[in-house]
Amino acid sequence: MAEVVLKDVVKTYGSVYAVNNVSLTVADGEFVALVGPSGCGKTTTLNLVAGLIPMSGGDVMIGDRVVTDLDPKDRDIAMVFQNYALYPNKTVYKNLAFPLQMRKLPKDEIDRKVQAAAKVLDITHLLERKPRELSGGQQQRVALGRALVRDPKVFLMDEPLSNLDAKLRVQMRSEIKRFHQDLKATIIYVTHDQLEAVTMADKMAVMNGGFLQQYDTPANVFANPVNMFVAGFIGSPAMSLIPLTAVTRGTEVVLTSAEGWELPLSPANAKKALSAKSDKVVLGARHSTVRLHKTQVPGSVPGKVYTVEPTGDVTFAQIFVSSAILNISLGPTVQISPDESVFIEFDQERMHLFDGVTEMALKAV
């Protein structure tokens, strides 16, 4: 295993920047998820690491080698594709043996390694089958087997679970995580599903529009999103973002809405709000950090219930607050109904404030 370093990596198609100056370091044995919406450049970034497409700028290092100009075959990597990309005319055995044959290993060693990989993934009974005779989950295992049979420096995975049904996906998710723990493998894992990234990865790299937005542990990304995009992308339901205006009232700072209500800020939050480029400030709140009241309490703001979604142990509700929709979660015993007027209390310790112009998280200065 080895560390992977991306340095100022750029990929352009004509005048379009698919990947724009991405730099990040994946430590030896680390599981990093590249996460972002469709078209954010995450798969392109992975293909650049693999060497499947030529780079427009920057460098990629695997271990202590610069691999920027090397063919994929010389990079000592393995890749699992979203559609598995099993060789359809070869049996499972030959699929697993192919990477070893290409490296001209002796026959008995190939057999030993294929059998070992098949045993790990519990596909020994499938070795003589063709890929089309396998179920989706089995194909997924074979694809994984073909990657691990060779003991590469890095595993690259391109949305390997997105073609599986929901139940199998959860199962394979824990298997891949286990696989990472057992092998201490360096893994770069592309997904559009932030839940996969949060649950599996040591670190996540959130991408949008070709730019790397934030690269940190899932807990830190969740707790301290650097901008409104990351805030809205990570977490389920997403963080709610309410555009407001910051106004100074004597010694204290309040956020005011177009409707006229005011939300006084704690001194720490007041400092943050004043550091904004203008008076436009966006309030961010995760569903679990707000409290719902039926009557007005000090520091609460008015809202109107939009929808109520009971899931059994938690009830999710969407509340109109000013011009935005606020996601909240409630205990199963709370009774509210659509169009009911309610009051929302924010947790000053755990609320997020963003600059309404730059969309960056505000910090106390």
Binding site: K73, M79, F81, L86, N89, P99, M102, R132, E133
Partner: protein, 295 residues
Amino acid sequence: MTTLTHSARPSRPRRKPVDGWRWAGRIFLVLMLIYTVVPMAWMLITSLKGGFAAMMYPPQWIPAEPTLENYIRLLDPKDTIGQDFLRYFWNSLWVSTTTTILAVIVAVPAAYAFSRFRFPGRNFLFFAVLLRNMFPAVIFLVPLFILMRWLGLVNTHGSLILTYLTFGLPLAIWLLKGFYDNIPIQLEQAARIDGATRFQAFLLIVMPLSTPGIIATAIYSFIGAWNEFIYAATFLNKNEQMTLPVGIQRFFSENTTDWPGLMAASFMMSVPVVVLFLILQKYFVRALTEGAVKH
């Protein structure tokens, strides 16, 4: 009534109402079948008759005295007609096979490049390739003849092979590109990551998967060259070089036509094509990439 039967299930599927369109379709297909089979059958029947029986009116639908004499004559290297026929047959086989092999050798890399690589002028080139097939063949007859004369290829099989390639290649490239487009690029990427060079990935992974396409393309090229008449009639005027479609004309003479001989020759001309189809048809229907990727 036993408790084992599922009473909720209807005992018998309900009869579908008669579908007029379905019946119209069936009648149409039967008519089409008659339209295509009857001439072939008539060809075969006539080829089994003697010269006199072939001219009888009303015609004999089933030959009273079927004979293989026409076939024996055509295949007899000592007979003058047999000599001619066998030479034409050999000429056709040579021209068509060479055309086919060359077409496949050129079309495979060309189609792959059109399918996989983005290069400047790609769309224009691909359109230009197809443009050739949008004009009737006759338009190119005179220009190509002049070109062949300039190249000194008139009265050689080379002139036909070159000409047939100008027809066959665009079609072959176009057909094969469709096949390559349907082979997921991830298969090659996987192979390249697994240690193959770009060429090895093509040779070891893509080529086997495109075998049905290559065979289909080869058959199209072969049939096109095998049946072609007008260029063969124009470029060649020596008897020993003629191909079958032209040579068969020689059964018509000024005063009489040897109908049974002509029909026997025609039948044997269609045999290679039919045999080719029967042997290779499984490649047309085999969905080889099934199970390669999840759609």
